[in-house]
């Protein structure tokens, strides 16, 4: 399986640099979303690229979202999307934005046009977002420090 975006909660300061990098690239429509759990706890929500059966792809009535078998990434063809919002309802993680600015849904493709990896990861001001393979993720043990063990600890 190819690399995935992983968040290290210990480092995320909620500056939304990831979002601005995405918006700067994709004409003001960020494909990474964020959730504000509390004023001090902030979670960028990137697409998980579920493998092998992403629910967004299953829900799509026109097969616009497909899984690339080479790297396990689900890619949406924005040309064929009709904006029915089925994928948005289906996504169990809520990472697809329900506000359709161009009447089509926006889905992360892990910046396939950039060799070095997604722009949100490269831009992350603190290095909280990481782009890791499954093995690297297990080895690195991301988010094991005390803050991420209980995010609500960060309520001063």
């Amino acid at each position: 399986m190819a690399k995935r975006i992983v968040l290290d909660l210990d480092y995320c300061i909620g500056c939304r640099s990831c979002e601005s990098a995405c918006r700067a690239r994709f004409a003001d429509e960020a494909r990474i979303r964020y959730g504000e759990v509390a004023p001090t706890v902030f979670l960028p929500l990137a697409c998980r690229h579920c493998y092998p059966d992403p629910l967004c792809a299953k829900a799509c009535p026109f097969d616009v979202i497909r899984v690339d078998e080479k790297n396990g990434i689900s890619i949406q063809s924005s040309f064929h999307c009709v904006g029915c919002k089925s994928c948005i309802l289906a996504c169990p993680f809520g990472v697809l934005d329900e506000n359709l600015l161009r009447r089509i849904s926006q889905k992360c493709n892990l910046c396939q046009d950039r060799e070095e990896g997604p722009r949100c990861v490269a831009s992350c001001a603190t290095g909280a977002l990481k782009f890791l393979t499954e093995k690297e993720y297990e080895k690195k043990r991301v988010a094991v420090r005390f803050i991420s063990r209980s995010p609500f600890w960060r309520r001063v």
Binding site: Y11, I13, C15, S17, A21, T40, C124
Partner: protein, 550 residues
Amino acid sequence: MNLNSSNRLKSSICPFCLYGCELAFTYDENYLVFNVEYAGQGEVNQGRLCPRGNAVGIVLNHKRRLAYPLYNNKEVDWDKALSEIAARPLRQNSEAIAITFDRNLTEEETGLIYDFAERLGVENLACSYLEPESYFVYSVEDCLDAELADIENAKAFVLIGDVFGQTPVIAKPILNARYAHRDHRIFVIDSILTRTAGFADRFLHCQPGSEPLVVLALKSLLTREIKGLAPEQIAEVSGIKLTLLEEVANSLTKLKPIVVVCTMSFGRNDNPYLLSLASKSLVAKSDGMKFLGLGEARSGLGKVGFGQILSAIREGKIKVLLNFGTDFPFLYPQLRDLAELETMIATAVFRPNQLAPYFILPTALNLEKNGTINTLWGKVKINKILEPISGSKTISEIITLLNQKLNFTAKIGTKTKNHEVIIPLKQVYELAREFLNTKSQTESSETDSLLLVGEKPAIGFWNIFDKEDVIKINLQDLQRFNLKQNEPAKVIGPAVELELLVKTTNQVPPGIALVGVNRIENRQLFTTAIDKATNNVIFPPTRVRLWQKG
């Protein structure tokens, strides 16, 4: 066309704040598509960027970039605009002219502005960058500035204000140092519960404006030599428990080295002069402590304070104002006295929101010119990586053309006044004692209004990403004033009324409202005050009332 081809990869220093991140981007042959690349290997940011840096591609080709000089809201050509300016009685009446400068200037350009003022015989030369971080020019004796290595090796941090919100890139070395050992600590002093405060081991949540007193209470607990600044009294004024102050001071004695990082925000601090001096005096004469003052820009001092120019305009003594830079007067719509000027000439990067009977000359951004700029880590030479956007000229070109129109010859080489002003520690304590006395006497017993404070996160930069048309209040205030969440309310300030969406937050205690000050409309709610010590204009927190239909 391959956008990622390295021959079109250009790198420079990010012009949008003092941190000086390395910035790289690629563009196509028509200079139309800019892709920010995160290729920097520099030790400052290793390719990481904040929202401001990411916006560089948008800013360079923004649809609101000004491409023609404007006069009386009409587009004119350069020659006509400059001839009109030169035709004003500039030389005959130098006492009625003021020259100001704000940010996005190189050192060479500031020098040219000083020269130009000298030639015209203008004494009213002031810095018009009125954001509070310009107060970091005022320093105290024996205050050491921190380097990047100091941050990496520090064991404790005292963060004053929303440090991570102002300069997100600094968070990485700070958090790395914090997580290096379980005993390392982060202490945050602020009046708002920010995301920076979320990382604090101890958060000193004080009343708005009492930050300098809290810092001096720590100094007083550390040295036990300062008279007249009793921590007990400060604890009472600032609303922080004395035991908490003592605990923090106790930790600071055990943990060395320490880095004190301070940042200020528009509409948050009512005495930025004292806050700059207080945070620097915490560092002064104490071993293993270093200081870092963050901000978006730091301009020189000029010859007079801007407050002096403003009062001269009010009295009708100054008729012509010439500003070089990008922000003034568009960032400060509350300066209504400027309407009394006969002629106002300003340079700008963007087409202003509200048109006004000015001369507005389009100018270039820092990425579009050569020169030396100041960053936190020293002076950096920047090279022009793009031609200025069509129709705009750099400040040095504008001044050269003005010199030609006015028949001035070569440069004089006037020295710019950019150095720090050192204030003795005794004087700082004296100022603080006065401030403490005024603070303890004023009682905030107004029940029908809220104290409005400003916040300035990096994402709201120039209104490009976040629109910030909300006012955040505490849930208790929502019920007290019978307001509805997520619905527009009229915010009635001292001078203007605005309609903003009401949101609840526990970032602020009851009685305080929070508004984003990256949005220019929101800035109008804050009134101006003149700082007596420096004769400069400040924007303290202000009182507003909220009103909702139905």
